[in-house]
Symmetry: D2
């Protein structure tokens, strides 16, 4: 997670944007896309990149599709396919690999419920291969899926439950899905980040406390995230920035006025924000009113993408039947 | 609904606060309370009061109980009793009065789902009195309840559906419950407004389009509302206000700087807010993350208060059995 | 509703089956179909037919598609289209007709929640045509939709709420959707009955008390129903029938034994059933464990069929966008 | 699980009833109770008892309270306290014991959702003791809780997930809650069985496949179960039994008739049942229509009982606040 002036973002893309003007050492960036879909591949190559971006070495691929707000089924299917290709590329699965899909987040909190919602639409097959190997043969990949809940619900760290299950079930790959915080309203439920570095402490809508990574779990981890909230702190902060910029432009750089604005330090800004958002401060989120619906839709796109990536041998019809 | 600088509030209490310094002509205000509960009675007496407050002549009673955030069952019960007393006072029911309880709002949108949630915990008796008059005798008041949905779900104005049902069922009193917008975060799900003036167009989280009043329905209406969101516009606006105030204090009233700030007009402020909240602007709400839970709790308090007011002849046990 | 030996069926098809051997006076029957779908058109022509079938004069069309249990998307789409055609045929809509879709049943009772579930997937347009007539022009038909709840929830007869809304909104056609009781387990969520006679008292899973018909509402009514339960009484009764038949075959028609079985009258059978099902008797239903899922699927098929029938001018994409 | 003539029961009480007439070797039975509550303590002492009862050595305590169907809050509280006492007695907890509460069953299948529903009302404290040990001191017992889902949802055996989590979290006691199958309709959601023997394969509404016992998990297990369904097979079977008994009484024991009935063997009966319940047979359950509500209520009673047993040091108010 990146925190700049108390503002959280879980997207590498947004960390990059803060450096917009110049090239970042230790980071390679490549953009591509198709109609209505922009794909940005951020590769953090070494320690310099880690330091600059505040995220570990690895691949961070972002799919942006603003049209997803408009329930365009064709676009949804194309985004799902792009997602499927990126997962396949990062995962490098073998035919007999077993994949565990994990829905992070709190199912009782609408904007944090993305992960559990995705899990409920995953084609789960591990038990079929185990109990009816003849009927469900080679064309099916072994997939299991579960949602571990959150600390406040279970009393157990998400990472601990996950570690317990992984040690027992021994998958070859873990795919996590999590709701993220973004800096930008236009990204809410229209942007998907896929990375092969796992999840850092403090990230996500629910602020996970422990890492969920290849190191901690002992198997490769692909983390899929979608921004579903902007912290209210971000809105307040941006308002200040815009206002200061606006005011600055109306006066000369030599004036006392300009200097006061220039000298407003982080602490002063934060105090101001704290006052505005009292008594809640850090716990407030900004969402569109129709957030329940937006999350439902993007969850379907993501589960579709995962299913396509993991079950290339299944026809449309077979997939639907297995989804019951 | 009150809109000041594009900022909505549905609470008469907050309209009053904008006039804090001086007495308001045509408005009487009385405060009372008990431990942890503050009751403010705003009475708009005449046209002067209507104009000053932006609300029609009538009673607006507000219960504030910040402790409701902490799941204090004892406080919840006391708030329910205070609410019951206020309803009884405004309603002046006879023994054989029939009351229709109406849950306004969209059950698919968490912060707008308050009304339907309250309705699902109302002790409904009209059919029992009709079909089993001997078993359910005089000690039960005839109560019916329903949630008409919202325009976007039904294609029909809420007020139209309600009018159709009222014309058919002919209750002696309608009690509506609705989620409101507030100016202040600390009021979210801790403040209850009860009024005998019905609901004006544009108010509520869902921005109802038509009036629901004694005039429109032909029977008395008591409207119960609870703030469940603050518009994001409000947060942005307050940030500007705080910042401008802060900056003003750091400079002399004669400086150019001060004058620039003083002269920032409403339009400039609004343009700024628009830029910050793009692409959503008016449709964004600020809520605590745990909004799902907060709404569940306050809905229980309100349904309890209504049940106590409408069924004084029932024991605790009878009430629970009827609630199944 | 047909009750034979205390066994309920809401399907004209099953009423017919009780007369399987011979032609029924005043009733015409026609069968057709396509792969995996059987369509039976029962037409009750006159009073003789009414008496024989226990249902009023009119059309009763049944779609049977046992394959629906297997989540075959292709079959689901074909069933939706067959349903759309039958609705169009019975409805005879004009371009500017306004249709009100009504989901009957109790959303809190899984097997009775079919109607409300269908309503939540109807393309609702009445408000769009009214508030944005230029944007949503002639290619859209005006459709509104709501779920009135049930007597136990609202205290108001479903038929009364519906009458109030119809009088106010004045649609040209009402389409109701209701969960039914069947005699046969294999029909559960695989059979759809469409009729132009409305709904009789006592029918449905929830045993509606009042008629919902063209006469009562003052506009044409198309009633769509799907069996979602078999009464436990039916299972007990069928067990007796099978056993008696079995025993009868093992003995000669002259024996005392045979005569005892032959003479077991309805009352004796019913007493036996009562004893088996005590303490619940009439309130028990038999369902597959996965009933929640089955209802979800068939609800999608039916809402799809209604949308296709009512909005022939919309493309797939437009329909999805309007469904948000 | 006990299967007699293809009829399942998960209750030791019902296994006992099949032996009603005589004393059972290796089994001690004690009855007690208070107003409206009957407690039966079945102790299986040795191998003879195991064989007779089809269940392992251990304690099986059953609480029967038919009045629970009537939403009597006073009775609910008394049943919760009886349950709390039985749990305390079986658990023998120390002050610093950590208890893991596990909700078995499928949250998507109404009658199987009991366990997950109970878990959602457990006072979870493990994280509070760990992260805020000073604030939440000795008066709180460390409790964690989760619902592992079922094989069909996760692709992983419930017992495997549970074993993984237990190995990681190392509780001192596991309490499971599960929905059971009963032979008797009057037991549905009015009877609670508590045992210290864990869960055998094949039991429960969801037919768990693997054992969940002290041996398999390595820590003591208390299993709480409530009947929520009767298999449809049971209803059909009972109908046959009643009918055969009825017919037998009408004829002399010497008649051919009587002998035919006497000689109807299990296979014949089962074939008959199969024919009646085709095409579903084993997968059909009988429930009251209001099952959704019944499960909600009994889940509250059980979570209340567990909370009282595990948190004797908390006041009512503290417990509610922790439950948020």
């Amino acid at each position: 997670m990146i925190i700049v002036l108390g503002i959280r973002t879980d997207l590498a893309l947004e960390a990059r944007e803060l450096y917009k003007e110049r090239e970042i050492p230790g980071v390679s960036i490549r953009e591509e896309g198709e109609e209505g879909i922009k794909i940005t591949r951020v590769k953090i190559l070494d320690e310099r990149g880690e330091k600059a971006m505040g995220k570990p070495v690895g691949d961070y691929i972002t799919i942006e599709a603003p049209g997803l707000l408009e329930r365009d089924l064709d676009l949804e299917e194309r985004v799902a396919k792009v997602l499927a290709n990126i997962i396949s590329e990062l995962a490098q699965l073998k035919k007999d690999s077993h994949v565990l899909v994990v829905g992070l987040g709190n199912w009782n909190v609408t904007p944090d419920a993305l992960g559990p919602r995705v899990v409920s639409n995953i084609v789960v097959t591990r038990h079929l291969k185990e109990y009816a190997p003849l009927q469900f043969g080679d064309e099916i990949r072994s997939v299991s899926a579960f949602s571990p809940g959150v600390l406040g619900i279970t009393g157990i760290e998400t990472a601990e439950i996950l570690k317990g299950v992984v040690d027992r079930v021994k998958p070859d790959l873990v795919i996590t899905i999590d709701a993220l915080a973004s800096r930008r309203l236009e990204r809410l439920s229209t942007t998907i980040q896929i990375s092969n570095t796992g999840i850092s402490p403090g990230s996500g809508v629910g602020n996970r406390r422990l890492s969920i990574t290849s190191e901690s779990l002992g198997v490769p981890v692909i983390a899929i995230g979608v921004p579903t909230v902007v912290d209210a702190v971000t809105i307040a902060h941006d308002t200040i920035e815009y206002l200061v910029k606006e005011l600055s432009e109306q006066t000369s750089k030599e004036s006392v006025f300009y200097k006061v604005l220039e000298n407003m330090n982080k602490q002063e800004k934060y105090s101001l924000i704290e006052e505005v958002l009292s008594p809640y401060v850090q716990n407030l989120v900004v969402t569109p009113k129709e957030i329940d619906l937006l999350i439902k839709n993007i969850a379907l796109v993501i589960s579709r993408g995962i299913n396509l990536a993991l079950q290339p041998g299944l026809t449309e019809k077979e997939m639907n039947q297995l989804l019951h």
